[in-house]
Homo-oligomer: 504 residues x 4
């Protein structure tokens, strides 16, 4: 059993940029019309609470925004915001704002027929860039009118998605993307200067080449993007079997190094130095049928990611909040390796809690007094932290013995534990026989099995320090807090007489 | 560590009368107007689901039913059902029906000034039995009109509460009670023969004497009660300190013997032989400030009670479902030893889950294949049971090794565990410093700490039998089920590759 | 101003078969996943309450039920009920059951590429009738397993939709449809004999020819359908302008005559005589962009229909409950002439109340004492009725002077009025400027404008009769009730002193 | 039929201080624990939305705040905030804050036994002013700790209620009240200077004398209250019959003159000049059993009050929001002349809508362009106003012909009408026979009858002006708005073809 000692000195402070709550990913916008989608998002907002949401498909045909018709022998354009408004209304009702990704192409406006995914998003350039720009302008004007100019102008905008992949952008044609970016950037800024626009939304394929070319283009065109976007996935190539893809996790440092390279490239341009990077997608695997996503292992690995991603990035948006998602079709079972924090049936997965725990840290404020690859500790009114065991040595429990400066005589320790024994709905579902269509009472049990174990304790300080021992089973993720304890027993109340049975 | 082997033979069946869901107790009816009361009851109904609810105070002045006024020099009576209807409407909305206890005395109708409790229920006989009978008739007529005659006539009726205590009935005057009983019985039956009426609602003080005298009286008056009622508490005299009373649990067999004596007395009367007994109140301690009620010890002790009480009784109503209760005033803290299954703030106590588990057994149906002082096992479509460790030897864990006849090759084992480590909100609250007025986030954590740990497993049968090992820590209560497991993996899904980390 | 006298004699009774609550239509099943759809259905169920719901698209690709894959060089089939279960769960939660229409064709199972509607339902025969039958059997088995065999076997089944139109069934190929019907009928009955199966689901195009051919076929094949289905629309050909089609209402008697012909044809077959007819779709216009649907005129016309349709038919299902409906694409505006009883934004249209009123009559029970082309009156505990003015002479108000036998001295008259002045959200929306995307407060006002005006009165009887005068403005629909009034004023209450101001 | 012309000139502006949403009254604090109370308040907050709530009884025994016990022969004090927190939590959840009235006296702290009301609030001075001050300090400290110091310190505080009546304050002892005021003022300010404290909370009995004496006392003691409070009722002495009191409305100007006298008295003190006056209670009648409260007449009279009360007062708190109120006991019927805006059963009374309409004006902002005794008109983005007919001449309809400067060619007119014909639940209930305990479906109809009639229109401007005609039936209250109308018909939509029937 691994054991490590951690000793925090008085006044110690280390950097920790935690922006976990800034954004989360979603299945295509048309799916936001669905009731189950909304229920999953409601759960996510209640327990975690993200500020923004980003996904594909705003301009896809199921959103029905763009239309053409003939009149007097001429082709005219008309716009339909019926579904768009339903989606935006529902987001705002749940306290979340869109991070607008502009794409994909309405079929009527498309130059080609290439599509991506089960849901057939058209991924070809516009047949007419003027019409594209008009569609963008009209969209933003509509949003500003309906939701208020100040409100809407605060919604970040990203141009397209992963143009460096031929599936997402015909031929992965770089110059064509830059053309799209410039046209879009200008259309947006003409509408209202306050809108913040970014790109190039690339994933980790030829990303350095794309990043440099993009910045060169911007320099040449005298465009200053408001931020840079890219994606971040950390598994190797999956092995496909039946409906599923099995992928191993990568060495985390490889991913961080890749992200650092983006940071360095940007900073090498005088005019773009320090420009914020939004990771508009990240997860372990990049396929929506990778069983890994449903595991405690994923939860622990992501905890480690969350402790580091803020080092070089403004934000990082987990792909995705829920499992209403159809890129490879409709899943056959509730646990199918979907990207979501929540499985269909509104069952939180272990990774859901990783986000809940880091969001609690973000709200906690205070300063970071310690951070390593297994733990982060904040000091505020007491202490608060998260710990994880994402790389258990030989499946061993890791024990952290922590010594913290104490200002109080006594502390209340609260702890929430998510590990394979305490919060593992995937295992419960497997033990049930992996039912494709679990009955109502099975879903109830699955939800009940999907919550952290809450424990508590009292910790006395001694010699100006308080000692804490955290046990992390393999793939455990923990949230804990230490707050000053002042016992204020009611008159006559004696806990010692009633605890542990055998009333004295 | 204690260990016991349990071996169930093919075809084995033992008696087990489980009517746990029939009735639950409540604070006085006027409190049912409160929002927190209703929220606690809602939680209870959602997770447990009782059929009836019984408490005091229907005729108390806060319900404002009975009024007198003068007209032309004469005293007239008028009735007000405004609050009564609000209460009944709210009960029926939550799927629960009243078990009507007729009492206490409206001040205007009272013959004296003796009151009981902080809320001052008048406990003297009516000044006019004719007016009492009229009040009863008019009440029932009103209920039949509003809720339908068939519906209301199915609500059981009990006459008064614990007349064998001088506090509840002036001088504990036996003959006066019998007079009340007879007058009430007749008023009810005149209204509608279908109403079921019972008494004498005594607690365990001179109860044998009262029971015999009551039945003698009924025989003499040719009254045949529809059922007999009594109460059942199982602690010794409390020691009072400040706001609290500390009481030790009694030996369970003493209580069962006492209940058996009631059964025997009734059965000794030819005309009353076999008449059903409703225990219209039971709990461990009979005071609403006994810290024991909030403990896991209480939960385990009550589990034992629930496994036995049906042996001689028709039903048994836990006193009470929630902690909105004012007999000794308004509690200063959420955990204050109240009777409730739920603490204020809608926090389930361990005993809440004992009831939830036994209610699941009641719904499960099937036959009982085994019962002893630590476990009860039903066979239906698989097996289902509850186990508890209410008398741990030296605070040891008790292990039950169970061998059951198997019809299936493989079973899914589901288990919910409530013990001092997994579901102990009292301890968490104590560790918090026993806050009298916990903040919103403290209440949230307390609720999260108050749920069973759900675990699962797969069990293979061998030689026509399936073996199960249940570990019961001190004061643990467990629910478990074994159901046929048929793995129906989706195409390509391989749980072994994703479980336990290190994706293969 | 038109005026008519109606005099009901003591003991009078006339036939009136009112099954308005049996079934309602819906947009394709895939849309039932949407949140707005569910909210509209919830409103409909709360205020009206239908028993069954029927629509297209169960087997369409957006429901993702049917799949093929290759294994070892062979094509295999697999089924996915993820979305189907979500839909069925949501229906049952709202207290409504499916009237299963089996169709259209999964692309993978289709023999051709013909599709219908914006949402591209494939309307070609199966490429393999064996696979079709297997899909049907597996579907029903799944439903019986999930929802209980007794429950699911009670859900009516209809084979396909309007095969007499070439758009809905390739070439409107009669023999091919009969083949489909027979294959489906047998597959269903093999699964469970209790399922009730019907067809041929034709609309009013060559319907007599189809009906006869269908029954001839059944006779020859010795198939006895459990019921016959057809559709019923009552407008003339629309004139198309922009997104809209303008259609005039037909003379009602033409439609009733057409329905009678179906009745007569069936009854001319010895073995099918008396077989129930379910009108599985009806409305005024058969296009989802006919502004008429949103008007009070529609409400009044449909009231007339509802008073007559039960004469020859078992049930009649209004097409459709709500405006989440995409046959011609996504509507640009909330009022767009959609079929729905409810406009997007959960705004009830006038016709919504026609259904609510007739549903109240259905619940009322009693006997029908009078029915003509403007009114139907039931007698139960008092009287209850609906009246309408669907064909106002010169836009005049119609006054009905009604004389009813009285058993009571005094009655309470309650009346709900829906007409162009009291409940006309379309006009309010038009007065607002016809906003395509009304703001939140506009939607609130629209909803507030979309409720009936409730009025009341006291009516004294004289000479054993009670007289009632109902004023029906053009296109008015009224619900009214007369119930015995017994004033039970509280002590000292004198309404006369406070009514009409100027406190006396 | 009365008719008046109103002509508003370009640029016209008149004063109108509308603070209708600042505060509303409530039954005693202990009743806030009730569910029906909370449901009524929820309805009020959703449709009207008040900022503060004020009522009696914070320190009354049912709130259980103050306790004494003996220890070592000494009397000690302890505080219980269990119920207080439930109430405050529930208020804040509904978006409303307390306007804290400190009173009445806990029995244990009282110097005498005088009580007021059915619920027996003790109205005697404290037996010990030190203990009173301690109780106040501890209360505020508790509130600051629980709800945040900044939040709680913003809650206004009033000392006692109507000490000028002997029922509310023993002997109406002026000097004793001043002593209480000074002790309380100092205790509050010691706790936190930011708290705003006011008095003397008198009603209109010897009010001038009290006001002067109070200000003289403050001057002498060098106390500067943060605001002055008084009450305002506008009926004559009621005539009592049975449970009811019938009272005639006073001439409004008498009341306004009385309020002006308070204003003048305050302004005559140099150091108190301009001090804000909060009317912490107002209504027509001051008894909770005056049938007038339930009428349209009340609604219209209050509309007039709301158009004037801001002229000399900071705020004015209607007594009360709902009918859970027990000063004279529990009402026998839903309509019983209670103070509430909402009758029991969550039925809005006509006066509810008067408040809703004036709250809409408050939110509208803009400037007031016209105000007289029947109408107030605001100009913002268009126009918005309220009109009423509180003193109909001979029960005639009053017609207002209004001419307003127009900036737009065309306006949408929206209008909500509450009068005896359109929104009069009291009449519907009377027509039902005045049921004491209306059944569920009766309550539903009552609620449906209790909403304004919504109508709309289009108004064209001419010669730079827009003309509007408002018809006010006796006791009518109207809300109306004129907003620029720009018709944006969808392609092909022609309302003229579908409106008014007879599709063209």
């Amino acid at each position: 059993m691994g054991k490590r000692e951690i000793r925090i000195a008085e006044g110690q402070e280390v950097p920790f940029h935690n922006n976990v709550g800034f954004c989360v990913g979603t299945g295509r916008m048309g799916l936001a019309l669905q009731q189950e989608y909304q229920e999953q998002l409601k759960l996510v907002q209640e327990e975690i609470g993200f500020t923004h949401i980003r996904g594909h498909g705003l301009f896809c045909d199921d959103m029905a925004v763009y239309h053409e018709y003939e009149k007097d022998g001429q082709i005219k354009t008309e716009y339909n915001y019926t579904y768009l408004d339903m989606v935006m209304d529902s987001y705002l009702k749940l306290g979340i704002r869109p991070f607008l990704e502009l794409g994909f192409m309405p079929c009527k406006l498309a130059s080609g027929e290439q599509t991506i995914f089960y849901w057939k998003g058209n991924t070809t350039p516009p047949k007419d860039y003027g019409k594209w720009a008009d569609m963008v302008r009209r969209l933003l004007e509509h949003l500003m009118e309906r939701y208020g100019a100040d409100e809407a102008a605060g919604w970040p905008i990203e141009v397209w998605n992963e143009p460096n992949l031929p599936g997402f952008w015909e031929h992965a044609d770089m110059q064509e993307y830059f053309k799209l970016f410039a046209a879009t950037f200008r259309a947006v800024k003409e509408t209202d200067e306050r809108f913040q626009v970014g790109g190039p939304a690339v994933c980790g394929v030829r990303d350095e080449e794309w990043m440099r070319a993009f910045l060169d283009f911007c320099r040449k065109e005298k465009i200053k993007p408001d931020f840079i976007t890219r994606h971040h996935y950390t598994t190797q190539l999956p092995e496909n079997v039946g409906h599923y893809g099995y992928a191993r996790l990568s060495e985390p440092e490889e991913g961080f190094a890749n992200l650092q390279s983006t940071r360095d490239i940007i900073d090498s341009y005088e005019e773009f130095k320090g420009l914020g990077i939004h990771i508009t997608e990240f997860n372990t695997s990049y396929i929506p049928n990778c069983p890994l996503h449903d595991t405690n292992e994923n939860a622990a690995y992501i905890a480690h990611q969350l402790s580091r991603l803020g080092d070089m990035n403004e934000s990082y948006s987990y792909w995705t909040f829920g499992d209403i998602f159809e890129e490879q079709g409709v899943p056959f079972t509730p646990f199918h390796g979907g990207f979501g924090l929540v499985a269909n049936g509104c069952i939180p997965k272990p990774t859901f809690w990783t986000f809940a725990f880091f969001k609690r840290l973000q709200e906690y404020g205070g300063k970071c007094v310690y951070r390593d690859d297994n733990i982060v500790i904040l000091e505020g009114n007491g202490y608060c932290g998260a710990a994880w065991n994402h790389r258990p040595q030989g499946r061993e429990t890791l024990t952290l013995e922590i010594r913290l400066p104490a200002r109080e005589k006594e502390y209340t320790l609260l702890c929430k534990t998510v590990d394979e024994d305490t919060c593992n709905p995937l295992k419960v579902w497997h033990d049930m026989g992996e039912p494709a269509n679990p009955a109502k009472d099975q879903v109830k049990i699955l939800r009940e099995s999907a919550v952290p174990l809450v424990t508590s304790g009292q910790v006395q300080s001694a010699d100006g320090a308080v000692r804490l021992e955290l046990e992390l089973k393999p793939y455990a993720v923990l949230w804990f807090s230490l707050t000053a304890r002042r016992q204020t027993s009611d008159r006559g109340y004696d806990y010692a007489r009633v605890s542990g049975g055998a009333m004295k």
